[in-house]
Symmetry: C2
Subunit: 711 residues, 2 copies
């Protein structure tokens, strides 16, 4: 739609010139007109004739209201008449209002009577736009009244909206059904509402100086959507500038960080217990094949490598400089690193913004910008990239190569990632600490890991985003190809308080993060352990080719709990067709339950498991399997694990690659069986019916967002 | 309040006699009058004078409505006038309505005009009572309109309600704030609403034949609560009879089941792999000190014990007979058991109601009733009671004595309980299978474990309740003394479908279960693993003496996630007073954050942990501690674990017994450290910030319900 941008530009300039930030009602109306935002027709009448002709123009019924600077309480003054349905009634009403006003206050200056189109009864909704510190312009939608104010039933999206995004907002509130018509009401005009959302989003996108738009209430009915009240505010200051880099620039530095030919360790040390010693040893012990240059003015050799007094003394090129010196020495060393032309500095030291020392951090950022050095950190544990056998960290080396890249904003969470990875033998491509994020951050990592063939899944712990728009742009692209899991800490009011004491970051409202991360195709993990479990299981699970999930269980009790978990995770239990039901029944005892869950009952031999699982894999109408195992002497845990591993492996060899997960109930042998299954491509868990379904649910959420599930 | 029960009795008898189950509006009004349920005053007027005097009696304003069997669309006929505020207006209105009606339909028979009290504008709410298959009479409350119909924002309680329960309903809906007055509205008269709920609950409690009451809508305002529409239905049939036992009867049999002097095994066998062999060996190997009598007509001795041809041949008294024979032999053997006077039979065999063979189950129940034998099962794994060293099960023995009793309706879940207990070394007093619950069930177990000094916590997996009222009665009593954790399977629509295919049990609506279990003081576990984790941690945690929770963390990142978890679990982060803040600051680096979380920062030595934890334990204003550990070389995991164990132990020795939980982030050594801490009274978990807070939250939920937290 063609908006009249010129008139809005002129109007905003005029408002700016007058020094105001709040627009008047007529100014709001002018902007609404320019952007096709429907508001009630209105006109000022100074005679009964004028009132009648205005009313005839806008259509009956109308509302009449006294206009007088001296009458604040119009209703009290008898200055409001509603629902006037004909020319005669409007004429009489005009005279009556004027008479009432004079009777109420003889001295009042009377400008006239406002004639206003009366809105058809409809559903009250709220449409707004605001400027989020993380994401910039965002659009909000909710139902009016109690639902928004008490239940906070509201949804957010980045502006501008495309048509699909605008339409999706109508379905993203809890009370979405109301818009479809309940209690005998007609459904609202969804196109009109979605169109209104789009127009508001375009307005704030076109004019970033508009900090806030409130259409509240909007009356939505079967015949359209009309904004009964409009409030527009302009920003007081200018939006902050965020440095922007091109994809090529990001990839160029990230390639050198992750696949360096040479690494210098500034502050390398021979002294056990020193960070500069740990980093050196991890680089050496981790098997990094490139050059390792220790830098230390007081040593000739460190970990059997020649040491250099300063980075400038290193003869060859240096791709990465890892800093392991105290904060106060960083600026000087960073100048040398910059002079040497090193593209990236890994700043392990703490003592910057996280301790309140913002100036020190600003200083190093300025030095880095001057020299074109990109920074990771400060205040981090370093990073791992297993395809390069690179452990540029003071933690212990990690060498189980695999396809998941994990990042964390906090060192503690990084250590939890490391321990969990080691104990579960999770295959990892990278673990990266971001700490204070003075420069490189999650969107840079997304850009790199998105195109990194060694990485099939990305899991990120974060407390804030420096540039929400850059993150969303990267996540949108990457999540079409591989799952992006995010643990957003500071979700709650209590959590957000801790976040601001920790990093000084302004934690945004969680609902905004939640909606916009989903809009970006990100899978959100509700907690730390969930993020780790998703990261471990998602790369193992193939992408489901449809929504039909079947539970095959030997324990009816587990079947019920697995079904509960399916509902919790938005999975659809397949409605089993009669022929398939009959096929399952051929393999299970007469008192077993076919249907879904398929309950093969508890005392069955391996052959029953094998036959039913094989059936589930082979039938193309079934898209995913959830297995419920119950420990018996007839089919012990490892027998079950081996047969499932074999049957699934055979199916994959035949080109049938469906997600299969398992819940194992039994004595402690089920732990070993679960490990075996995981190693054979079946995420399996002992003593829980929730986890296998949660990871399958996460895979589905990703696949749906990425548009990978055929309809 | 004194209700007029006699008039209701007479009215219901009259309705019954007429063969109806639906009450007419005047009958509904009569019942409302008898129970003090306010409905709008109304009267029939056949003259303008009568209309005026009725209106004067009920108070202005009033509504007038034509009463004519020939006029269905009263409004269309000009037969309704609202808001008539004076005698004159009512008089004129009467005449007008009659005139309008005659003009509308000259032939219409006109009975007169109904004068109705006009309700003040108020909040629409819904109050109802219904008959739940599990819980019997229950009362429902919700806000009218969209909130109930679309968002299902409704809450339930058992009838009858006491005043506190009735009041609690007003706070148990999501939109509770609406009743307190939002958007300028006055708060509603809470006493009037709660009183109305109580009266409805008393009505259905007094007259069980009333199957349903609907007051919809009720207009609640600052001046009262008036039911604008009343619908009352009577039950078609008679409620089913559930056998009732006294507490003494239950305890008498449960004592003999759990602490038997002698156990007979019907179907004992020497053949490895047979259930009758497993049970014998578990009894013997488990160390049961009483008599063990194998019963098998074909053997002289089993597991080195003299075998008997039938139970009748056993010389001494037998407390428990464990059945390990196929279903078809159970009735005959049960007759013999009954004749022998054995008080309890443990029916391991399957092949009864769970396979559709309801008749077989009815048969054994009848035999048992005839002889006064109580039944556990059929279709179970048996049971464990560790204080008696009793493993009457075909699973493996379990011998880690402790204070939690667990029960499960399903064998698979029972095996998960066993494996989890063994791997976590969870101290257990009992594990009991209930299976088909033909007789003994969860409320019998609650009665026994409630008074069992060996049991401090009870955790139950269940899919249905045979007698919801008996369960609630037992749970209410027991949960005042010890936590009762329930995993209710079949929570969701999908889950409920699986439940009915599994046990034939009618899974009730989950919201009813949820509200009523909470009303009974039960802690509900969201999933299997949660139930197990609660069961393990709750007996270890002391009861908190107040709501002030403090997080002490070495990793700011964990602090944020722990704070998120506190909000998720309804825990209150203490607002730290200035003097306490200063005291914490004395021990932590200047860039650490006091406040709450107390962030001691990552590089601190054991002394900092010790000083801050000691401060948290010693200050009486702090009631619970959550510790966030981050693996460093300065304070390695086991150093942390030992110091926390020591400091907490010393405090307990000094009489300071506060709940302390811990989240450990780090390399795999944190697993051993977590185990150590758990063994030393501090529930601790690696790689998760959620679990420690979840178990603390469960302890708080219990303690609040039990009234154990001082205000």
């Amino acid at each position: 739609m063609a908006h009249d941008r010129d008139s809005v530009r002129a109007l905003l300039d005029k408002v700016r010139a007058s020094g105001r930030t709040a627009l008047t009602a007529p100014e709001g109306k002018e902007i609404c007109d320019a952007y096709g935002i429907t508001i009630p027709a209105e006109a000022l009448a100074t005679s009964a004739d004028e009132a009648v002709s205005s009313a005839e123009e806008m259509g009956f019924p109308v509302v009449l209201k006294i206009v007088s600077p001296d009458i604040l309480h119009k209703t009290e003054a008898g200055g409001v008449l509603v629902g006037l349905g004909s020319a005669e009634v409007v004429r009489a009403g005009y005279d009556q209002i004027i008479a009432n006003a004079k009777a109420y206050s003889a001295d009042a200056q009377i400008i006239g009577v406002q004639v206003q189109q009366m809105l058809p009864p409809g559903q009250e909704v709220i449409i707004g736009a605001t400027t989020d510190p993380t994401f910039g312009k965002i659009v909000a939608f909710g139902l009016g009244g109690v639902l928004v104010e008490v239940l906070k039933d509201v949804t957010f999206r980045l502006a501008p909206l495309d048509a699909g995004e605008a339409a999706s907002m109508l379905d993203s509130i809890a009370a979405a059904e109301v818009l479809k018509g309940v209690r005998g009401a007609d459904p609202v005009d969804r196109d009109a509402l979605a169109g209104l959302l789009q127009r508001v989003s375009e307005l704030v996108d076109d004019f970033p100086e508009i900090s806030e738009v409130d259409l509240n209430p909007v009356f939505a009915s079967a015949s359209g959507a009309v904004a009964a009240d409009v409030r527009i505010l302009l920003a007081e200051g200018q939006p902050r500038e965020v440095p922007k880099y091109t994809t090529e620039e990001i990839l160029s530095v990230m390639e050198r960080v992750m696949k360096p030919r040479s690494v210098a360790v500034i502050g390398a040390s021979n002294e056990t217990g020193k960070i500069g010693n740990s980093v050196m040893r991890n680089l050496v012990d981790g098997g990094f094949a490139g050059e390792i240059y220790p830098v230390n003015p007081k040593a000739d050799s460190i970990c059997d490598r020649k040491a250099y007094r300063s980075i400038g003394d290193i003869p060859g090129e240096v791709d990465v400089a890892v800093f392991t010196i105290p904060a106060k020495f960083v600026p000087g060393a960073l100048e040398e690193v910059g002079t040497k032309g090193v593209p990236a500095a890994i700043l392990i030291p703490s003592g910057f913004a996280e301790t309140g020392n913002v100036e020190a951090q600003d200083e190093i950022v300025a030095i880095a910008r001057k020299h074109g050095v990109r920074l990771l950190g400060p205040n981090i544990y370093g990073y791992y990239y297993t395809p390069s056998s690179l452990c540029a960290t003071f933690c212990t080396p990690y060498d189980v190569q695999g396809s998941v890249a994990l990042t964390s904003q906090s060192g503690g969470i990084g250590m939890a990632i490391l321990g969990y990875s080691r104990t579960t033998k999770m295959g990892v491509s990278a673990i990266v600490g971001f700490g204070n994020k003075s420069d490189l951050d999650e969107d840079d990592a997304l850009v790199f890991f998105g195109q990194d063939d060694n990485t099939q899944c990305i899991a990120m712990h974060l407390e804030d985003l420096k540039d929400g728009r850059a993150f969303v742009a990267a996540a949108r692209e990457v999540s079409k190809k591989k799952p992006v899991v995010v643990l957003k800490a500071g979700r709650t009011a209590l959590g957000a308080r801790a976040a601001s004491s920790h990093t000084g970051a302004l934690a945004g409202d969680d609902k905004v993060y939640d909606d916009i991360l989903r809009q970006a195709g990100v899978i959100r993990a509700p907690g730390l352990n969930d993020m780790l479990e998703y990261a471990r299981a998602l790369p193992v699970l193939p992408t489901p080719q449809g929504e039909n999930v079947v539970i095959i269980t030997a324990a009816g009790g587990s079947g019920v709990l697995l079904s509960d978990a399916c509902a919790d995770n938005g999975l659809t239990l397949m409605d089993i067709p009669a022929d398939l039901d009959a096929a399952f029944r051929e393999h299970i005892p007469p008192f077993g339950a076919a249907g879904n869950p398929v309950d093969i009952t508890g005392g069955e031999p391996p052959a029953t498991f094998e036959a039913t699982i094989r059936l589930g894999l082979d039938d193309p109408r079934i898209h995913s399997l959830i297995l419920g195992y119950w420990h018996t002497i007839v089919t012990p845990p490892m027998v079950f694990a081996e047969l499932v591993g074999r049957v699934v492996g055979e199916a994959r060899a035949r080109g049938i690659d469906k997600p299969v997960v398992a819940s194992l109930a039994g004595d402690t042998e089920v732990e070993q069986a679960s490990e075996y299954l995981f190693e054979h491509g079946v995420p399996a868990y002992p003593y829980t019916t929730e986890k296998p379904v949660a990871v399958l649910g996460a895979k589905y959420r990703w696949a749906r967002n990425a548009g990978l599930i055929p309809d």
